[in-house]
C-alpha cells in the first residue's frame, strides 16, 4: 500500500474514532487538568506533554504490533493481562496525582499553607507524561483496529508512520480540553478534582485486578 494512502487511512481512522479516545481518556485527563493551576498556557503545556507521551505509547505499541504480528492484538489472554496491568498502573498514577495535588493550588486558595509555587510544575510534567503514556497503551477498540492494520504493514517504519497519522487524527479531538484552562481554581475545584481522581483510580484498580485475575469485564 502506498505510504500516502496508508497515512490517509490512519488519519481518517483517528478522526473517526476520536470520540472514543476522548471518552476513554476523559476520566484520566479531566480531573488531572482540573487539579492544575489556572491558565491557558499551562494547560496547553500539560496537554502537549500528555499527547507526546501518548504518542510514545502508540509508537511502542506499533513496534510490538509489527514485531509480533497481529496475533498479540487480538488474542484475548495477553490483551486482558495487558489491559489489567495498564489499569492498575493508571490507578497508581492517579492516586499519586491526587495525593500530590494537595500541595499545589492557585493563589486564590483559601489556605495559604497549601500554596507551594514550583511544586505543581514538576508534578504536572511527570504526571501528564505518565498518564499520557498509559492512556496511549490503553487497548480501546479503535486502537486495536489501528494495531491490526499497523501489523499488516510492510515495514516497521510504515507501521510507525501509520500510528503517527492515527495519533494526529485522534489528537484533534483533545483540543477542547484546553477550555478547562481558564476555569478559576479554588479549594473547592481542587478538592473535587482530587476526590474524583481517587474514585476513578479505585474504578481502574478494581477493573485492573479483575482483568489480571482473568475475569472478563465489559467484553474486553
Amino acid at each position: 500500500m502506498p505510504v500516502f494512502a496508508s497515512c490517509g487511512e490512519a488519519l481518517v481512522l483517528g478522526l473517526a474514532s476520536g470520540p472514543a479516545c476522548l471518552a476513554s481518556c476523559g476520566p484520566v485527563l479531566v480531573p488531572s487538568l482540573l487539579a492544575e493551576r489556572t491558565g491557558f498556557r499551562l494547560h496547553a503545556r500539560y496537554l502537549s506533554v500528555f499527547l507526546a507521551a501518548r504518542l510514545l505509547g502508540y509508537m511502542l505499541f506499533a513496534v510490538v504490533a509489527w514485531e509480533v504480528g497481529m496475533l498479540a492484538s487480538i488474542l484475548p489472554t495477553p490483551r486482558l493481562l495487558m489491559m489489567g496491568a495498564v489499569y492498575v498502573l493508571l490507578a497508581g498514577v492517579l492516586l499519586w496525582y491526587a495525593y500530590s495535588a494537595r500541595r499545589s493550588c492557585s493563589p486564590s486558595c483559601a489556605d495559604s499553607k497549601l500554596v507551594q509555587i514550583g511544586e505543581s510544575r514538576n508534578r504536572g510534567v511527570t504526571g501528564a507524561a505518565a498518564l499520557g503514556l498509559l492512556t496511549g497503551l490503553n487497548l480501546c477498540p479503535p486502537f486495536v483496529a489501528a494495531g491490526i492494520r499497523a501489523a499488516q504493514m510492510g515495514s516497521l517504519a510504515a507501521a510507525l508512520l501509520f500510528f503517527a497519522a492515527f495519533f494526529i487524527g485522534t489528537s484533534l479531538w483533545f483540543v477542547p480540553f484546553l477550555s478547562l484552562g481558564p476555569i478559576v481554581r479554588n479549594q473547592a475545584v481542587l478538592t473535587v478534582a482530587r476526590m474524583a481522581m481517587v474514585l476513578i483510580a479505585l474504578y481502574y484498580l478494581s477493573m485492573g485486578i479483575a482483568m489480571l485475575l482473568g475475569k472478563k469485564v465489559y467484553g474486553y
Binding site: R194, A196, L199, I200, Y218
Partner: protein, 388 residues
C-alpha cells in the same frame, strides 16, 4: 464591635386561624382528590380507591398543618419519610410479582426492561451528545410510567419550579435517611469536616466521565446505595456479587449508620451525584432562602438544623445558603428571629416572606402530590393488598 451571640428562645409563630387555613388548603384538597383518583396506573379495585383516599387525605392534612402552624419542615418530613418507606414497598412488590426477584438479570437489561429512575439523568447527557444514544438499559416510552421519557419530563417540570427542592419534595430515596436521622434525640458525631461537601461533585464528575468511557450508567452499576432497597444486578458472577456488596455497604453506611450518628442526610450531603447536579438548578429556580443580615444574630441554630449541611458561617455572613440548599424549611422554622426567609428572586429580602413561602409550597406540594402522592398511594395499596 462586639457581636451578640446569645441564643434566643424559639419564637413559635402564632397559628393561623382554622377557617383561613382550611381556605388556603382547599386548592390542595381538590388537586389531591383529582390526582389520586385519576392517577395513571390506578386500578378500579376498591382497595386502590381506599389507598387513593388515604393518600389524598394524608397530603391534604399535612398541607393544612403547614398552613395552620406556619411550620414547614416537620410536616414535610412526615410526607418525605412516608415516601421513602412506601416507595420500596410498592416497587419491590411489583418486581416480585412481575419478575419473581429483586435482581435484574442481564436478559431483562438487554430487552430494555429496566425501570428508569432519575438518578442516571446527568450520566446520560454526554453519551447522548457524542453518540445520540441513551446509555441505560431501559426503553424511552416504557410500561406503566417507568419509561425514560416520562421520568425526564417529570424531573424537568419539578426542577424548573423547585430547583434543588426536588431533593426535599420529590426524591423517593432521601426519606429513608431523613427518617433514620430523626430517630436519635441528639447527634453523636457533631464535628463534620466541611470538605466532605465537595464529594457529591466529585462523584458526579467521576461518574459522568466514566459513563461516557464505559458506555453505561456507572453510578447505577457501581455506587448507588439504593440498589439495596430497589433492584440490583442479579449476581451471577463475582463481578455482580462485588457490585451488590458495594450497594449494601453504601446503603448501610450512608443511609443508616451515618444519619443516625450525625442527624444529617449524609447520603444527600456527602455522596449523591444527582443532588450535586440538582444544585445547579437552584440558579434557575425563582425560589431561594435568604438571610436578613440586619435581623440575624449569628447563633447558628440554622446551621445545626440544616439536614444537608447547606449553611456555613461564611454563607450566613453573606446572607445566603450554599448552592446545595434543598429548601426543606428546617432553617426557617428554627430561626428564633425569623431572619431566614423564603424568598423570590428579584424581590427585596424582607418582602412578604410568608407570601413567598406560600407560593413555593403551593408549587412544591402540588408537584409532591402528583409525583410522591402516586408513589405513596401505590405503597399503601400494596400493604392493603398483601394484608387484606
Amino acid at each position: 464591635m462586639a457581636t451578640d451571640t446569645r441564643i434566643l428562645p424559639l419564637a413559635h409563630p402564632a397559628p393561623r386561624g382554622i377557617l383561613w387555613s382550611l381556605f388556603l388548603t382547599l386548592p390542595i384538597l381538590i388537586w389531591s382528590l383529582f390526582m389520586m383518583f385519576f392517577r395513571p396506573g390506578a386500578s378500579a379495585e376498591l382497595l386502590s380507591h381506599i389507598a387513593s383516599a388515604i393518600t389524598a387525605l394524608f397530603m391534604t392534612v399535612l398541607f393544612f398543618m403547614m398552613m395552620r402552624t406556619r411550620n414547614t419542615y416537620r410536616w414535610r418530613r412526615i410526607f418525605f419519610v412516608s415516601l421513602g418507606v412506601l416507595f420500596p414497598i410498592g416497587f419491590i412488590h411489583n418486581l416480585i410479582v412481575m419478575r419473581g426477584s429483586m435482581g435484574i438479570p442481564i436478559e431483562e437489561m438487554i430487552a430494555g426492561r429496566t425501570p428508569f429512575c432519575f438518578m442516571p439523568i446527568p450520566l446520560l447527557i454526554l453519551p447522548a451528545v457524542f453518540t445520540r444514544t441513551l446509555v441505560f438499559p431501559g426503553s424511552i416510552v416504557g410500561a406503566s410510567g417507568h419509561g425514560i421519557a416520562v421520568m425526564v419530563a417529570l424531573w424537568l417540570a419539578l426542577t424548573l419550579v423547585m430547583g434543588k427542592g426536588w431533593c426535599s419534595y420529590a426524591c423517593f430515596f432521601g426519606g429513608i435517611e431523613e427518617g433514620v436521622a430523626a430517630i436519635p434525640a441528639r447527634a453523636r458525631i457533631r464535628k463534620l469536616d466541611p470538605r466532605w461537601r465537595y464529594l457529591p461533585w466529585a462523584v458526579l464528575l467521576a461518574m459522568v466521565l466514566l459513563s461516557l468511557a464505559i458506555f453505561e450508567p456507572a453510578y447505577c452499576m457501581w455506587l448507588c446505595p439504593f440498589k439495596a432497597v430497589t433492584e440490583y444486578v442479579a449476581a451471577r458472577n463475582m463481578l455482580g456479587l462485588v457490585q451488590n456488596v458495594i450497594f449494601v455497604l453504601l446503603f448501610a453506611g450512608l443511609v443508616i449508620v451515618l444519619p443516625f450518628l450525625t442527624k444529617k442526610r449524609t447520603q444527600c450531603a456527602w455522596f449523591c451525584p444527582f443532588g450535586a447536579f440538582q444544585s445547579i438548578f437552584n440558579k434557575i429556580s425563582i425560589f431561594e432562602m435568604k438571610i436578613d443580615k440586619e435581623r440575624c444574630k449569628p447563633c447558628l441554630l440554622c446551621q445545626n438544623a440544616c439536614p444537608n449541611l447547606s449553611l456555613s458561617k461564611e454563607s450566613v455572613a453573606r446572607g445566603e445558603t450554599l448552592l446545595s440548599c434543598m429548601k426543606c424549611g428546617a432553617c426557617v422554622d428554627v430561626c428564633p428571629r425569623k431572619a431566614i426567609v423564603w424568598h423570590i428572586k428579584g424581590t427585596q429580602i424582607a418582602w412578604k416572606p410568608e407570601r413567598a413561602r406560600l407560593m413555593f409550597l403551593y408549587s412544591a406540594w402540588a408537584l409532591a402530590v402528583m409525583f410522591g402522592g402516586s408513589i405513596i398511594a401505590q405503597g399503601i395499596y400494596t400493604i392493603l393488598h398483601v394484608f387484606i
